[in-house]
Amino acid sequence: MKIKSKLIIFNLITRLLVILVFWLVLPVLVQKVIYRDINKSLVEKKQKFLEHLDKEEINDFMLRNDTTETYASFSTLHSEFLQLSRLPVPFQDKKTVFVDEPRIIEGEQDDYRILKYQFLYEKMTYELEIGSNLAEIKELTFIIRIFVFIVLFFASAVVFALDAFFIEYLFKPFYKIIDTKIRRVHEPETFDHTSINSTTTDFRELDTVLNQMMNRISELFKKEKQFIANVSHELLTPIALMKNKFENLLQNQSLDDDAMDKIVSSLRNLDMLKKIINNLLLISKIDNNQYASNETIDLYPLLYDLVDDLSDRMDDKNIHIDLALQHHYECDGNKTLLHILLYNLMVNAIKYNKSEGSIICKDGYVDEVYFLSIADTGIGMNEAQIGQIFDRFTRINTTEEGHGLGLAIVGSVAAFHQIKIEVTSKINEGTTFVLYFPIKST
């Protein structure tokens, strides 16, 4: 997951948590605050009531309530009530208490916050109850809860959007570095050295370090390229000279047979030297990324032409080829190199085959990955040999001539094209090379 997605998700979760916590805690908090307020006002009322209390008033209260020893009064909307009652029990010094109790007033039951207070007046115990209706309070709490929730929700949404926008903006240089710089490490020549425009010092530092690294890499690439060019020139020119001298010498009519043999043998050795140098240079150049890979190559005609080209060599060993490709797979890369890769594999399949043997070429798709397999019925290899075949100068079969570079080239070309090679082999039964081509990015 990308950093920016992670940050955005984290933000989202924290916002939701905050809202959830508020939703749960708010009623408790509101209740606490409101209850304190109600308590305070009830105490004030009690104070006021007691201040004005005298005999007359009590009697006045009591008179109106003829039968019972209780006096009650309430506001018209039942939001508050006051009740004074004479208790038959002796006075116990009780503190003021607050309770939540339901009361029925004029046939309507409501929850009330009630202050209870007992006091002694002229040797009589009275209990004073002052109540405040809680229904409204509950309604109010609910409204506050909803209101706070909505406000929080919208505030969070706005902040979240701002965050997302800012994160996107903040990470833009970072993704630009990845897209335009790191992904192109393999092509130092096309590397973009312009520095990234960002006020974030971390990214600027990353960019600078990357640029420095790429400068070093392209310097090395350039040096190696120069070295390869020099080696080619310095080694191949004397070979060319010797080769041409021998060729001219060969036309000399006065040469005896022995001299002729020696010249031809020298020419053959020179040819070998040339091929080894060319093969090594080829590997270096592939590894040094000196080949363009902007061609689209249909493997079908490439392989059919190749087989046609090699037909006389197969005829020579009476090798039967079973070539039936099902697809016209188009590979992105370098045609010359792919030709060399297939050529080397085919030549190996012929060279290490038995006489009257066969070569089977197949293709297809495994999990959307295109594969091409070349199987021979040749001498085969053991596990240890398979592990070495792509190393330079490894020769599996010493009776066959070769310099052990053919498969090293195959390895390099495959790596260049991101082709995965799978080799299976059984001694005296044959070897199968399977090439898995990369899935194309569209």
Binding site: A240, L241, M242, N244, V264, D316, T336, G402
Partner: protein, 224 residues
């Protein structure tokens, strides 16, 4: 036919000149780019053999200069770099052919023949040897009007030997000509021998002479 050899290695240039001189070509050697341009300005040349790695700069610059001058001279580029982008570049800039060092002198001879033939507007369309005619345009061979059916490879071998007649052509040279500069080692002998044997059989039916003198285990020669 005048040829200018632009090559900084004097010895190599001399070998090429010695070989080509025996083949009715008049050769001049220039060891650097400046000398080559001077020479070209002073005299008419038909073909230039141009080495890209010159001491006084890139051979491509010379190629460009020549093509700018609207000279009809054919240019065969020679390089030791063997770089494929050179090949593309060279042909795009107007090189007529391209050879990689080290090359065979007999191969150079065959390429020169093709270049010169093109230079003269394909006037020469036939080669003749012992009454057998090679029609170069459609790869056909005939004897007194009778077509001799040859495979493409047989034709190529025959033509190569005819172009280099009276010379010993090694199996290696023939292999290189037919299959190109293949990268594997032991790419010689057998296959060439099979083709030559078949070719000989086909030609013998019409003109029964010792067509291809087998020179010990070296190679073949067509005698004129």
């Amino acid at each position: 036919m005048n040829i200018i050899i632009v090559e900084d290695n004097q010895e190599l240039a001399t070998e090429i000149r010695d070989f080509l001189s025996k083949n009715r070509y008049r050769c001049t050697i220039a060891n650097n780019g400046a000398a080559a341009l001077e020479e070209v300005a002073a005299m008419d040349y038909d073909v230039m053999l141009l080495d890209l790695g010159l001491p006084d700069g890139d051979g491509f610059e010379i190629l460009k200069a020549i093509r700018k001058s609207k000279s009809r001279m054919a240019v065969i580029v020679i390089t030791a770099r063997g770089e494929l982008d050179d090949k593309v570049n060279g042909l795009q800039l107007g090189a007529d052919d391209y050879m990689t060092k080290p090359f065979s002198l007999t191969e150079l001879n065959a390429r020169l023949f093709a270049v010169v033939r093109r230079l003269h507007g394909f006037v020469l369309n036939e080669l003749e040897i012992h009454g057998i005619v090679l029609q170069l345009q459609d790869y056909k061979v005939s004897y007194q009007g009778n077509t001799i059916s040859l495979t493409k490879k047989e034709f190529d071998i025959f033509q190569y030997l005819v172009l280099n007649k009276d010379r010993v052509i090694t199996r290696l040279q023939l292999t290189e000509h037919i299959w190109g500069d293949v990268l594997e080692l032991n790419s010689d002998s057998n296959f060439i021998d099979v083709h030559v044997r078949n070719l000989r059989k086909k030609l013998d039916k019409f003109v029964a002479i010792d067509w291809f003198e087998t020179v010990r285990n070296v190679g073949y020669r067509i005698n004129s």
